[in-house]
């Protein structure tokens, strides 16, 4: 860059740069001081954990952290403060990969936790076999939420493909939860058409042709259905569906349990690299183990997750009606395969959407 200096004495920059340096230093010092105060205090009578989780678990973990703190205090006399971070499952997974100090991850799908091993080697490959039930202390399934009185008479997945029905579901490319929705639909199609992939594809395409809006996140889609009053049926996690009915207007909505659905397993894991560096392995392991305790299982049920302990689940048979459930491993060959085939670029979802929207 060539600068003409004919006016250089116009302005003496020395003062300004001194002022600048002071401001820069001040800003840096302030920021530095703040970041220093953040790391965990690993004193003997206090311990801090960071649980990086996905959106709908806020209410559950707020109560569970209290419960676990009491338990741990009785056992070890230490106070546990659990810091929480919530967001979309995929972006939370990325935060862990990119270096957030998480001790434990409690995400919406195993694919996002697999990535912690594949992309950053933060956890061992066999992470999912370390805890019971595929490391899922609570499960859920995909159900249908309709408006009061079920005006469109929706009974099962078939009705979603009808021409007069509008379906609300978020975009599976950006919402982890929405991937379960598409897979539930696909699994039902396979069952219905005796494993005929082509017919299943057509069926799923017909359903997506009825989707007027693809919200990027699950709760945004809930709000589209509830507040904008768009659509006749909303495909949702069971816990989310019950929560919407309870929180957003009892009597305004009904839950329709389909004949067949997918077993949604939101898994949990220790972040080995981080807990070893921070020296929090023991308490973090206990934090996850305790999720399987009777108290925690009841708490999960209270927050509309299905307890993984069958005896406790049986106590809530009224809240959680029995239905036929298939797992992603049985029908779709596990998350890696499903992600590759359905949701990555050029996958089934892209094909379906292109077919619908370019005609």
């Amino acid at each position: 860059m060539q600068i003409s200096f004919s006016h250089s004495k116009l302005f003496n920059t020395r003062h300004l740069s001194r002022l600048t340096a002071a401001t820069l230093l001040g800003g840096a010092a302030l920021a530095g001081a703040l970041s220093l105060s953040a790391p965990a205090l690993a004193q003997s009578d206090r311990v801090e954990l960071l649980n990086v989780s996905y959106d709908p678990t806020r209410e559950f973990y707020r109560e569970y952290n209290e419960l676990f703190n009491q338990y741990w205090q009785n056992e070890n006399g230490q106070t546990v403060t659990v810091r929480q971070s919530h967001g979309g499952s995929g972006s939370q997974g990325r935060s862990i990969i990119d270096g957030i100090d998480a001790d434990v991850a409690t995400l919406a799908l195993a694919y996002d936790i697999d990535a912690l091993h594949d992309r950053a080697n933060l956890i061992p490959e066999d992470w999912q076999s370390r805890l019971p039930n595929n490391s899922s202390p609570y499960t859920s399934t995909i159900v249908l939420l309709v408006r009061d009185g079920n005006p469109k008479n929706i009974q099962d997945w078939d009705d979603l493909a009808r021409d007069d029905v509008e379906v609300i579901t978020p975009n599976p490319k950006t919402s982890g939860g929405a991937r379960w929705n598409l897979l539930a639909l696909w699994g039902y199609g396979l069952e219905k058409f005796d494993g005929d992939e082509e017919q299943t594809y057509d069926f799923v395409r017909q359903v997506y042709a009825n989707v007027p809006v693809l919200d990027p996140a699950a709760r945004g889609a809930t709000n589209t259905f509830v507040q904008r009053r768009l659509g006749d049926v909303f495909i949702a996690w069971e816990n989310e569906a019950i929560l919407s009915v309870e929180q957003l207007g009892a009597g305004d909505y009904e839950i329709i349990v389909p004949s067949l659905s997918i077993l949604a397993e939101p898994p949990v894991t220790l972040i080995d690299n981080n807990v070893d560096r921070k020296g929090t392995r023991e308490v973090a392991e206990a934090y996850l183990d305790y999720l399987y305790s009777d108290e925690a299982q009841h708490l999960a049920a209270k927050h509309y997750y299905r307890p993984s302990n069958p005896d406790i689940l049986a106590e809530y048979s009224e809240e959680f009606p029995e239905l036929e459930l298939f797992t992603i491993d049985e029908v779709l060959g596990g998350w890696q395969e499903a992600q590759q085939r359905f949701f990555n670029d050029g996958g089934v979802f892209d094909d379906i959407l292109e077919e619908i929207n370019t005609q």
């Binding site: 401001t23 800003g27 970041s35 806020r58 971070s85 990119d98 270096g99």
Partner: protein, 295 residues
């Protein structure tokens, strides 16, 4: 008597012609004002009403509760801290950059201006990605930072940097057209009269660019408070620690606590009041000074 009437009449016609040449006719004024106000109503007043309606729908006490919530308070504190760091830095940068661009001639000026504009054009999502690639533990500087136990992203410094990035152009961009339009004769005169650069800046340049500077600071401030997309990527969303006001609003909205979400948003709209206050003070000072000068 008669002569004076004629004079007045002539003055009147002159005045009329004068007014015609320097002002718009009344009907046109009304049309323009109406059009502008309709635009304002549609794009500014209505969305604001939605927010305020949502915030106060359930009464002032519910609103107050939402603000007093510890997580909300920590988000407010964090946002104010960030503004206190970012706005002064960007103000200095803005003045220096605008000065260099408006008062000097050099080749590649459009390129420099375009570069300054760039942070606006880069999607907040990409801004977040940029800093993750740079500072993330899989990124280029990440492993080194980790080895030295320093935190940039998922901590306050990261949030400060992305917001400084996103609001970088505001003040410079406000000042450049203004300074270009003013030219540099006044400063040159001041220098010729023996004032030094600093004095010239303080007494000649600064008063001249006052309005642009004020608008720039207001805009920069507003944007620093409201920035969401990029912050969401680098903040880590730790409750009570790295959640800024916009992130906290999202949390509340996602928890179906709509009233609380709008309540915190309504605080951000309170910024408009700050704008009124600043402009009023400056205008008042100006009048004050003019009155002194008149005496």
């Amino acid at each position: 008597m008669t002569t004076s009437t004629t004079v007045i009449e002539t003055n009147d016609t002159i005045a009329k012609r004068w007014r015609r040449a320097t002002e718009e006719p009344a009907w046109l004024r009304i049309v323009l004002i109406t059009l502008a106000l309709a635009f304002v109503a549609l794009f500014l007043v209505l969305p604001l009403s939605v927010v305020l309606y949502g915030a106060f729908e359930r009464g002032i006490s519910v609103w107050y509760e939402a603000i007093r919530d510890p997580d909300a308070m920590s988000a407010i504190r964090l946002t104010l801290l960030i503004v206190a760091i970012v706005v002064p830095l960007n103000t200095l940068f803005g003045i220096a950059a605008a000065w260099a661009i408006a008062k000097f001639e050099f080749r590649g000026k459009p390129i420099l201006i375009s570069l300054i504009d760039m942070p606006f054009a880069i999607s907040p999502v990409v801004v977040g990605l940029i800093f993750v690639i740079l500072f993330g533990s899989q990124g280029w500087l990440g492993p080194w930072l980790l080895a030295n136990d320093m935190r940039i992203i998922f901590a306050v410094p990261g949030i400060v940097i992305v917001i400084a990035f996103g609001t970088l152009p505001f003040i410079a961009r406000e000042l450049i057209p203004l300074m270009q339009q003013q030219g540099k004769e006044e400063e040159e005169a001041s220098l010729t009269l023996g004032a030094n650069g600093w004095k010239t800046f303080w007494y000649v340049t600064l008063p001249n660019i006052k309005w642009g500077l004020i608008y720039g600071v207001i805009l920069c401030n507003a944007r620093a408070m409201g920035e969401f997309g990029a912050v969401a990527v680098v903040s880590g969303r730790i409750r009570g620690e790295t959640n800024t006001m916009p992130l906290h609003i999202e949390v509340l909205y996602n928890e179906y606590m709509f009233t609380a979400a709008f309540a915190v948003s309504s605080l951000l709209t309170g910024l408009a009041l700050v704008t009124i206050a600043i402009k009023s003070v400056v205008e008042w000072q100006e009048e004050h000074r003019q009155r002194l000068a008149a005496v």
